[in-house]
């Protein structure tokens, strides 16, 4: 498939998925009424307008943004590590971000609302950055990144995150416990406009800056010194990529909890369709990630309505078999 066509297809499919996500749920809303509310003509549709404005729309936007963030950050991280198995949740970035966020919840739990959420996001960002830096330092030598070290470092960080989490729970009171456990399950059901605002802010930064690193990422795939020989300021680019991907993963963990495999599966599917050129891979992954998570979340809400499945369960159900198939075919990737 030509890269341009794929990006167009995805860009056309995305609004349809957003609309479907707003329409479908425990109560099914008619498409025309939803459209009328979305364009601001909601006379006589008070109850429906309330559902759309306060529940479905913020949730659909949050879902789409988080999916896009996870996928584009996964794609960039795989380029940075020069390794197609680098995924935020596998290499401990998600776990690091979780620890950072839990610490903030427990020790600054009194701060609520927008400021509190910003603090949690900041904690997740710091935790995520520390994890990427640690994994990168451990796993990367002059000849590239060792998969074994990378995954082992991920396990170590995951274990550390688990024990820090348990320690925190030990010390937390009931209210904090509830928040931590809700938060750990992840999920997009806590969507509200202040979460959308925070994710939208970080997303705007990442979608503006990451695609501009596409040429550098392509050169980096050749190897670090090869990229340097092509005139790329490798150290600066690496620093930028680590900070951006940690911010993206951190904020998505902070608002939606740990959603696994989106960052791994989406860039892979896109690469199979159009190849590894980051100039197309990055935007196409962002669009496809938004679509995948919107579909998964809509399913999660519809399948067992009126209750819902955790969306992470669906992404893992989809992602784990895919990951196993990748492992089986790893020789094709030279791992």
């Amino acid at each position: 498939m030509s890269p341009r066509r794929l990006v167009w297809l995805l860009a056309l499919a995305l609004p349809c998925c957003v609309l479907a996500a707003v329409m479908l749920g425990a109560v099914r809303l008619p498409a025309l009424d939803v459209l009328a509310v979305l364009v601001g003509r909601d006379e006589g549709l008070d109850r429906l307008a309330l559902i759309v404005r306060q529940l479905r729309l913020p949730r659909a936007l949050l879902t789409g943004l988080v999916g896009a963030l996870l996928a584009i950050c996964g794609a960039a991280m795989q380029g940075l590590f020069r390794n197609p198995l680098a995924d935020p949740s596998l290499i401990g970035v998600t776990a690091g971000a979780s620890v950072g966020a839990s610490l903030v919840i427990v020790f600054a739990g009194g701060v609520a609302g927008f400021v509190g959420l910003s603090l949690v996001s900041l904690g997740a960002f710091v935790g995520g950055t520390a994890a990427v830096l640690l994994v990168y330092r451990l796993a990367t030598g002059p000849g590239g990144t060792s998969v074994a070290t990378m995954l082992l470092a991920g396990i170590a960080i995951g274990a550390l995150a688990g024990s820090v989490g348990s320690l925190l729970e030990f010390h937390a009171d009931n209210e904090m416990l509830r928040r931590i456990s809700l938060w750990r399950m992840g999920g997009l059901d806590g969507a509200n406009w202040s979460r959308v605002a925070i994710v939208a802010g970080v997303s705007a930064l990442i979608f503006a800056v990451l695609p501009r690193q596409a040429d550098a990422l392509n050169a980096l795939l050749l190897g670090e010194s090869e990229a340097r020989h092509l005139g790329i300021a490798v150290d600066r680019i690496k620093r930028r990529l680590v900070l951006l991907t940690a911010a993206g993963v951190g904020v998505s963990v902070a608002v939606a909890g740990a959603i696994t495999f989106v960052g791994l599966v989406v860039p892979h599917i896109v690469r199979m369709l159009i190849g590894p050129d980051h100039r197309w891979l990055l935007p196409a992954s962002a669009l496809a990630g938004a679509i995948l998570l919107l579909v998964a979340d809509t399913l999660a809400r519809v399948v067992v309505a009126p209750t819902e499945l955790p969306v992470g369960l669906l992404t893992a159900l989809l992602g784990a078999p895919f990951f196993i198939s990748l492992l089986r075919r790893r020789r094709e990737y030279g791992l």
Partner: protein, 261 residues
């Protein structure tokens, strides 16, 4: 064309606190090909990596077109100096044409010109028939030719940059006889268009056939330097490799040929 495109003076290089190269000197003019020979661990690769700025000199200087190598902005240097590494780590399925196009990265010559240059270098390395194949599925020799086409496209045109330098670290190690000859001829054609070449070669006879001058290194020190006929002698090979050889003259090219074994 520059008579003193690359000037190396009193160069010493260290790696991990150990002196790897010491007191190496040479001057290379545009269009000249210098072949560096020597036993394993002689410092050949370190030397060639120093010539692109990967390793900073511990003593002495490297000047490119009259300016110290370290003073060149990365982008400008990349338009003039390209290095073919011994091995490549590329593990993502770029097509062959995409890999070669990466060599055009430092230039802003436009996609039309770039496509043309990619086509020319693909033909020069005899890989035009592979252009849409995935790099990861190629054989070792094919990969090496793709990487060579990539670094050639980086310094292909005189209008991008006048003074150009091509560094080759064992460019023919994985190639069959036919492709060894093809690659060395294409490198010679590039040199004829004003590119200075520094290569590390293990096949002494091949080096003597295609290089204008040779530099023999052992434990980082210059054992011999000069024309192939001056450097490649039975006595010189004995000092360099501790092994007995016979050196005869090639009946066609009149260059020295090392017989061993």
């Amino acid at each position: 064309m520059s008579e003193r495109l690359l000037e190396v003076e009193g160069l010493a290089l260290t790696a991990g606190g150990r002196t790897v190269v010491e007191a190496v000197e040479f001057v290379l003019a545009a269009g000249q090909h210098l072949a560096v020979i020597g036993p394993n661990g002689a410092g050949k690769s370190t030397l060639i990596h120093a010539l692109i700025g990967d390793v900073a000199p511990a003593a002495g200087s490297i000047r490119l077109a009259g300016r110290a190598l370290a003073d060149w902005p990365a982008r400008e240097r990349a338009c003039r100096v390209a290095l073919l590494p011994q091995a490549s780590a590329l593990g993502f399925p770029f097509t062959v044409a995409e890999v070669v196009r990466l060599g055009r990265g430092p230039h802003a010559s436009g996609s039309v010109a770039d496509r043309d240059i990619v086509a020319q270098t693909l033909a020069a390395c005899d890989i035009a028939h592979l252009r849409e194949r995935a790099y990861t599925q190629l054989s070792g020799g094919e990969k090496q030719r793709v990487q060579l086409a990539r670094v050639m496209s980086q310094i292909w045109r005189a209008e991008d940059a006048g003074d150009r330098l091509l560094l080759l670290d064992e460019p023919v190690a994985a190639l069959d006889l036919g492709h060894q000859r093809l690659v060395m001829r294409e490198v010679a054609a590039l040199a004829a268009r004003g590119v200075a070449v520094v290569s590390v070669l293990h096949d002494i006879s091949l080096a003597a056939r295609y290089a204008d001058r040779m530099l023999a290194l052992r434990e980082g020190r210059t054992i011999a330097a000069g024309t192939p006929a001056e450097v490649v002698t039975a006595e010189g090979m004995q000092r360099l490799f501790d092994t007995r050889t016979r050196v005869i003259v090639h009946p066609d090219s009149q260059t020295p040929v090392v017989l061993h074994g």
